[in-house]
């Protein structure tokens, strides 16, 4: 199922946090029942009184006051100690080690780099299962936040302030996430898709990503490649193995191997790619890719080219 919840963890880190949440939920539940129960009791006991009945005037009791001061102090102390323990388990210091995955947040898409392989992708993050993975999260413009609930903690992407997190995925699967810090017009469509694979499958994927783009084969694709180079596309996008090496938009070298387009707006189908390339401002208004004024045939050719970039 496609539920992205902190309560459906796929890493030991997320699991610890879920456990802390349940403990907190029980504490809160008990306190709520006590408070609501007392209020309900008062209301029920009050029912049969005449309006003129004057109750005993009770000014207070120090014993009671200290009781309901000390008991909460003890509860929160317990919670605090447990909190510290979980913090340490979930978020140990990233000492002396290069990040395995480097995430650079952009308005409104994610740039992903793998170390040491050097693979590059966007919006979709493939991960090997069963490894201790260190993530570094940075921002290219405003503040964003990298959040995949099944993996664990959120990490703010802040300019001039790289952040780190550990995620040791232990179950293969697809996990959804999203940008979780308001970052402007298209904050809603800055989704993340994590695909956790067994190590061999992951290795295979990395190999593929490292290859240069295949040269276009069909005639439409060839025309598309020429258009891509001629028009401004290449100022913003990279396609390795071609002169296109822009870094404003996502790397398109293996675009066709991704499941979604434009950070979750579309599933990656030829029709949707056509919609996107011909009028991004219609489907993601405010996005930093302009709507280009080309003939329909040209767009079809470009799409044909992009569709070959497996």
């Amino acid at each position: 199922m496609d539920v992205a919840s902190p309560l459906l963890p796929a890493t030991p880190q997320a699991e610890e946090i879920a456990r802390l949440f349940y403990v907190d939920l029980v504490i809160a539940g008990v306190i709520f029942v006590v408070v609501a129960g007392l209020v309900a009791t008062v209301i029920i006991r009050n029912r049969k009184r005449s309006p003129d009945d004057l109750p005993v005037q009770n000014f207070g009791s120090e014993t009671l006051e200290w009781t309901w001061t000390i008991i909460p102090v003890m509860i929160v102390t317990g919670l605090f100690v447990y909190t510290m323990k979980v913090m340490h388990e979930v978020d140990p210091k990233p000492v002396g080690r290069e990040a395995d995955v480097e995430i650079i947040a952009h308005q409104w898409w994610w740039e992903v780099h793998y170390h040491p392989s050097g693979a590059v992708t966007a919006n979709e993050i493939h991960l090997p299962v069963g490894r201790d993975l260190l993530f570094q999260v940075r921002s290219a413009d405003v503040i964003h936040d990298f959040w995949v609930p099944a993996l664990g903690q959120k990490v703010d992407a802040i300019p001039n302030h790289p952040n780190y997190a550990w995620y040791d995925v232990d179950k293969p699967g697809t996990y959804l996430g999203t940008c979780a810090e308001f970052c402007g017009a298209e904050h809603a469509w800055m989704r993340i898709r994590v695909i956790a694979q067994p190590v061999p499958a992951f290795g295979f994927w990395v190999e593929e990503q490292l290859l240069d783009a295949r040269p276009p084969t069909g005639s439409a694709a060839k025309a598309g490649a020429a258009l891509f180079a001629k028009h401004t596309c290449m100022n913003c996008h990279s396609i390795r193995g071609t002169p296109a090496n822009g870094d404003i938009g996502p790397d398109l070298t293996h675009l066709a191997s991704r499941q979604t387009l434009a950070a979750g707006v579309f599933r990656n189908t030829p029709e949707n790619l056509m919609k996107w390339v011909s009028d991004p401002q219609k489907y993601k208004p405010g996005s930093h890719m302009p709507t280009m004024d080309l003939r329909r045939q040209s767009f079809e050719n470009i799409v044909a080219y992009l569709e070959e970039l497996k």
């Binding site: 209301i43 009770n58 207070g60 909460p72 959804l176 402007g184 904050h187």
Partner: protein, 554 residues
């Protein structure tokens, strides 16, 4: 001197208010009661605007992948909704009640600085108008109510709306500080003889402490805004990443203001609840001393918790420990209040007037909001839940289920004093039940929404399991809420003309405002009875068993 009656205390100069009639008498007024009512009316109007914005948001969110509102529009609307509700609704309406009732409750004839009072009100209105003017000046601000940099910088928010936003908040900030100074000086210098600090009604106590919070917290907002404006309009570099600036500077400064601000929005509400519950339980407040001291404790702690809004920024552990610990500790003095209110009701003869219904619901709903607050204070949980609808649920439970319910309790309680007429209890109860159902329907489902991974501040969301369903429920709740507000407005309009005449003391209250006429004369009282305890009117009614015989310790 404690024995006899007194003239009300007041500013020595008699402010010779010219005898205007009609609208002009309001516009030129320096009378604390008129200004108090104007605060409430202004807040009420902005309230309707904020409500309208909320309904737009909820309508947009009713189903997934909805494109009814464009993202830019939605972002402007939630920014304006948040800014309006906080700066133009909750704070001004609390100030309105403070301005109206603090002098009455301490036996004074007016606040210490009547002209300053008028200034504070009008500059707040000016701020509100500036904020809304932005719609006509190229678009409303759209960076959220805490306007994180660099998003709120010119490079990313080019519209002048963001400048209007900053100027508006500066104006409102100045007005709020002026009001706070006025409240403190009034309480310190204008108490009628006999009204010692330990006999102050709790509403006055909490308003008083609140005023200190305002004075210490507001300048942090002003400093942040000034830096933002310098960046935007003078090309300064405070928050310019390329110049090596720290984006966390803005967050630290904003939340150094922002967290105390949330208590600024609740402490007077605590005070209102502390007035309503004893009167309708026919008992004195339980544990007065602990109530007063816990307020001070909350105020102190509230300056040491701001980083809990920044747990995902990577500031590091030692800092998180301190702020997580303080955030959890603040549950303790708040709990003291909850338990004392219940103890006041315990064994009391409870009269479930509409005001009391709101106060009772307040206790339960605020506890829910408080408990989710403590949930965030457990840092790793916040790492998962920050910036999701779980947070939206938390702060609507505290601000709405708490703050706004307290305000409604106060409106039903004090409306007779302010207007001379009772609000209809029948319509009042309809209003109460509708708002209770509407509120919990709208906002309770936001907890599971957050847990299902729905981030806040999104104009739409993908069609994932349950998200559509829960959002639909929430939207239906919002419409129930809106209906309840209609009932309330009908009630006010109807009662102003047809309501039962109230008389001086319809609820048999015990604090000084209830011996004044309803509505009070220009000078408030001819004479103030002797004040020898916290309930001077009780002492008058029960000469055989006056409170001052009992009020020693707690």
């Amino acid at each position: 001197m404690n024995g006899g009656t007194h003239r009300p205390t007041g500013p020595e100069t008699i402010w010779d208010v010219p005898e205007y009639r009609g609208l002009l008498s309001w516009v030129t007024s320096v009378d604390h009661k008129q200004i108090g009512i104007m605060y409430l009316l202004a807040a009420g109007s902005f309230f309707l605007v904020g409500l309208f914005e909320a309904l737009l948001m909820r309508t947009q969110l009713i189903r997934p992948e909805n494109n009814w509102l464009s993202p830019e529009t939605y972002n402007q609307i939630f920014t304006m909704h948040g800014t309006t509700m906080i700066f133009l609704v909750i704070v001004p309406s609390l100030l309105g009640f403070s301005m109206y009732f603090v002098p009455l409750m301490i036996g004074a004839r007016d606040v210490a600085f009547p002209r300053l009072n008028a200034f504070g009100f009008w500059i707040t209105v000016l701020g509100g108008l500036l904020l809304y003017f932005s719609f006509w000046a190229g678009g409303a601000p759209a960076a959220g109510w805490f306007a994180y940099t660099p998003l709120s910088e010119k490079a990313y928010s080019y519209s002048t709306g963001q400048d209007y936003w900053a100027l508006a908040l500066l104006a409102i900030g100045v007005g709020t500080v002026a009001a706070a100074i006025n409240i403190i000086v009034t309480v310190v210098t204008l108490r009628v003889p006999g009204m010692t600090m330990r006999r102050l009604p709790l509403f006055v106590w909490m308003t008083f402490v609140n005023a200190f919070l305002i004075i210490l917290a507001m300048p942090a907002l002003n400093a942040s805004l000034v830096m933002l404006l310098a960046d935007r309009d003078l090309n300064a570099l405070f928050f310019e990443p390329q110049a090596g600036a720290s984006e966390l500077l803005w967050q630290n400064y904003f939340w150094f203001f922002g967290h105390p601000e949330v208590y600024i929005m609740i402490l007077p509400g605590f005070g209102m609840i502390s007035e309503v519950i004893p009167v309708f339980s026919r008992k004195t407040i339980y544990g007065y001393g602990f109530m007063a001291l816990s307020t001070v404790a909350i105020a102190f702690l509230s300056f040491g918790v701001w980083v809990h809004h920044m747990f995902a920024t990577g500031l590091g552990f030692p800092i998180y420990y301190i702020f997580a610990g303080a955030s959890m500790l603040i549950a303790v003095p708040t709990g003291v209040k909850i338990f004392n209110w219940i103890a006041t009701m315990w064994g009391g003869n409870i009269q479930f007037s509409t005001a009391m219904l709101f106060a009772t619901a307040f206790i339960v709903q605020f506890t829910v909001g408080g408990l989710t607050g403590v949930t965030f204070a457990a840092v790793p949980i916040d790492w998962q839940l920050t910036d999701t609808y779980f947070v939206v649920a938390h702060f609507h439970y505290t601000l709405f289920g708490g703050g706004l319910f307290a305000l409604f309790a106060a409106i039903y309680y004090w409306f007779p004093k302010m207007t001379g007429r009772m609000l209809s209890e029948k319509l009042g109860k309809a209003h109460f039940w509708l708002i209770l159902i509407g509120f919990n329907t709208t906002f309770f489902v936001m907890h599971p929404l957050g847990l299902l991974g729905m981030p806040r501040r999104v104009f739409t969301y993908p069609d994932l399991p349950y998200l559509g369903l829960l959002n639909e429920v929430s939207t239906i709740g919002a419409y129930i809420l809106a209906t309840s507000i209609l009932v309330f407005i009908v009630n006010v309009v109807y009662s102003l003309r047809q309501g039962r005449l109230a008389g001086a003391n319809p609820w048999k209250g015990w604090t000084l405002e209830w011996i004044a006429n309803s509505p009070p004369a220009v000078e408030n009282f001819a004479f103030v009875p002797p004040v020898r305890s916290r309930r001077p009117l009780w002492d008058l009614e029960h000469p055989d068993d006056p409170d001052w015989k009992h009020e020693g310790g707690a």
